[in-house]
């Protein structure tokens, strides 16, 4: 389209809305860059254990968390680096945690799958599929009793939908009218299991409705779409003091984990999805709309690169939790 051609080299003076768009792009870039580094560090054996990357899904965490308030809580999964980062956990402490250093957000005891941060109400980081949902219900239960107007935001993959804990949690949340936002990150695979081979009924909204919970589907590859949907969903949860089910349709580019030989899908499928990449497409849009100039993009990229580099240095220079403290935190006393 001509608009593209005539896209001005120089950006208009940024309005609040434009600033926000650039902010959202920056947030997605931060996740992508941090995880590309994490991937590299894993191959260098600086990071160990199981590493689950979020490449391709960044618009979901960014678009939802953007609309949360400070005193809301987040319950995530083992694929939670991005959520922690966007929530405000510093890249330094996330990287240090992946290194297993004492300066990590979980003091090196948790690792990639178990990021926790009390300061930002980031409740992890559970590596048992669907295991976080009942806890999110309980968090919302406490908030409702405490009348503090905060909500619980629970992220989980579509694979978690098949677990009994999903069923029990949605029924309780709806029955007791608890302020929980259930965010299903439907990336079409649970490890090697294709969504349609795991679900007798692939319309997840129908499932939500079977608990009398309102649900909506958002395009998880489009950050603005997620922002719009989550704004509505979070508003509803907070105002109505009822749960809401938000399905974000997305895709993970990388293997499930670093152990995954990826026999279960075709390279073309991945290529196709990459064309919808939330970062490149959004970058294009911002350029086209004349909101973002090449220079500004370059600045963002440098900023992100610096942040990543700094975090790696921080992690490298981190200290080790003393072995004498091995049993610390098994019990409080």
């Amino acid at each position: 389209m001509p608009t593209k051609k005539t896209a001005p080299k120089k950006a208009k003076s940024p309005t609040a809305g434009n600033k926000k768009k650039i902010h959202l792009l920056h947030q997605m870039m931060r996740i992508r860059a941090m995880e590309e580094k994490a991937y590299e560090l894993y191959t260098q054996e600086k990071i160990r254990g199981i590493l689950h990357l979020y490449d391709g899904e960044e618009a979901v965490a960014v678009g939802v968390i953007e609309n949360l308030q400070k005193d809301d809580s987040i319950v995530g999964t083992y694929r939670e680096h991005g959520h922690a980062l966007i929530r405000g956990v510093s890249m330094n402490s996330i990287m240090a945690e992946m290194y297993g250093k004492a300066e990590g957000c979980s003091g090196g005891r948790g690792g990639s799958m178990h990021l926790y941060d009390k300061a930002t109400n980031f409740l992890g980081g559970s590596a048992i599929v669907a295991n976080g949902l009942p806890m999110a219900v309980g968090v919302a239960f406490a908030y409702k009793r405490q009348k503090n107007n905060a909500i619980a935001c629970c992220f989980f993959g579509e694979g978690a939908v098949d677990e009994g804990e999903f069923h029990e949690s949605l029924n309780l949340a709806s029955l007791w009218e608890l302020p929980v936002l259930f965010v299903c990150e439907n990336n079409l695979y649970s490890m090697g299991m294709p969504f349609e081979l795991a679900e007798a009924e692939t319309n997840l909204i129908k499932k939500a409705e079977s608990y009398d919970i309102k649900g909506e589907i958002a395009n998880g590859m489009d950050v603005m779409a997620v922002v719009k949907a989550s704004e509505k969903a979070i508003g509803y949860v907070r105002k109505e003091q009822k749960p809401f089910f938000l399905e974000c349709q997305t895709y993970r580019y990388r293997a499930h984990s670093m152990f995954d030989p990826e026999r279960y899908r075709k390279k073309e499928e991945v290529r196709e999805w990459k064309k919808k990449d939330p970062i490149t497409t959004f970058t294009e849009t911002l350029k086209t709309e004349g909101i973002l100039s090449e220079e500004e993009l370059k600045e963002l990229q440098d900023k992100v690169a610096d942040e990543v580099e700094t975090s790696v240095q921080f992690a490298e220079n981190g200290t080790e939790e003393p072995v004498e403290d091995l049993a610390r935190y098994v019990y409080s006393d």
């Binding site: 003091g107 409740l123 295991n131 309980g138 009793r145 804990e165 029990e168 019990y331």
Partner: protein
């Protein structure tokens, strides 16, 4: 600990009063579980509490053990003080993920940021012909899990006194109430009880043999000790009270003193708490022992329904007496 004419209280009433007092003292406390409200509790423990505290604090749940146990965990993390009741330990198997994969380890995984001050109460034990799916004693099994604290009140005093310190404890505490004890009565003076949830207690002093037990086993052991006394054998009866962490000092010093030990546990023998006690005595008191430590435990079978079969699975006072009598050096 016999029933007396003077003022008495049942174990059931003690648990109820403990919950009522906790709810009166601290409005962060609530009771959640299946049929704790309208029904009054499947063992009638929470009768009247719905009327007293209302639906906001006495919460009847759907049949969703994982769901409501996890809900309690989340609420605990966010500052509430939940008492989650799982009707019996057998049903807790449906909540094992939440208890073991979350409650027991959340603090550790989070580097000390999120502790889980939840209390989970459940009935345990057998003897009422409830058959295989309703008759397990798994408190010793849960005692294998680091991060959990395991309490087994055997007396009315402990049933009344252990709940509050358990609620004050920053870590997840599982309280196992043997359902055959709910009707057990003790003399009772209403003065506020305070008990700790750290120590084992010597319930009967003796010089000849240490009987290590807990829960319902305590009562059988005390009965056995009486009979033994008639034969001139003075048994010391130690009530473990806490199965995790075990109070080694009290337990082992009793064994060192008597140089003989019998462990009494209605639960299954293999890999039960009786095995751990025997192993610790082996490691710490080997040279003090006059004879091998013996175990008097439940038969290792699923509980049968037929009364005569079920009774045959349970250790009886006479088994304890016989076991002690077979020990070396006690007669002449």
């Amino acid at each position: 600990m016999k029933t007396t004419a003077q003022q008495t209280m049942t174990y059931r009433q003690a648990v109820r009063d403990a919950m009522r007092e906790a709810m009166q003292k601290d409005d962060r406390v609530f009771l959640m579980g299946e049929d704790v409200g309208r029904y009054g509790g499947c063992f009638n423990v929470s009768e009247g509490m719905l009327e007293e505290f209302g639906e906001d604090r006495i919460i009847d749940t759907p049949l969703s053990e994982s769901g409501f146990t996890g809900c309690g965990i989340g609420a605990a993390v966010e500052g509430m003080r939940p008492i989650v009741e799982i009707m019996t330990v057998n049903f807790s198997l449906l909540a094992a993920d939440q208890i073991i994969n979350t409650a027991a380890i959340l603090q550790y995984m989070s580097g000390g940021q999120f502790n889980v001050p939840i209390v989970i109460r459940m009935a345990t034990g057998r003897g009422k012909q409830l058959a295989a799916q309703h008759s397990r004693s798994m408190e010793g099994w849960y005692a294998h899990i680091p991060g959990l604290k395991i309490l087994t009140p055997a007396t009315v005093e402990d049933a009344r006194g252990m709940l509050w310190p358990a609620l004050e404890d920053p870590d997840p505490v599982l309280i196992f109430e043997n359902s055959t004890l709910y009707n057990y009565e003790e003399a009772w003076s209403s003065n506020g009880v305070t008990v700790d949830i750290r120590s084992a207690k010597v319930r009967r002093e003796g010089r000849d043999v240490s009987i290590l037990t807990y829960g319902i086993g305590l009562h059988k052991s005390l009965e056995a000790a009486e009979s033994l006394a008639e034969e001139g054998i003075e048994a010391e009866v130690v009530d473990l009270r806490v199965l995790r962490p075990l109070d080694d000092e009290t337990i082992l010093s009793s064994v060192v003193k008597t140089s003989r030990a019998v462990i009494v546990d209605e639960g299954w023998k293999s890999g039960g708490i009786s095995a751990e006690l025997s192993a610790r005595i082996m490691e710490h008191c080997f040279y003090d022992l006059d004879c091998p430590v013996e175990r008097v435990c439940g038969e290792e079978v699923p509980a049968p329904y037929a009364k005569h079969l079920e009774q045959a699975t349970l250790p009886q006072p006479q088994n304890i007496v016989d076991t002690v009598n077979k020990m070396g050096g006690l007669h002449g």
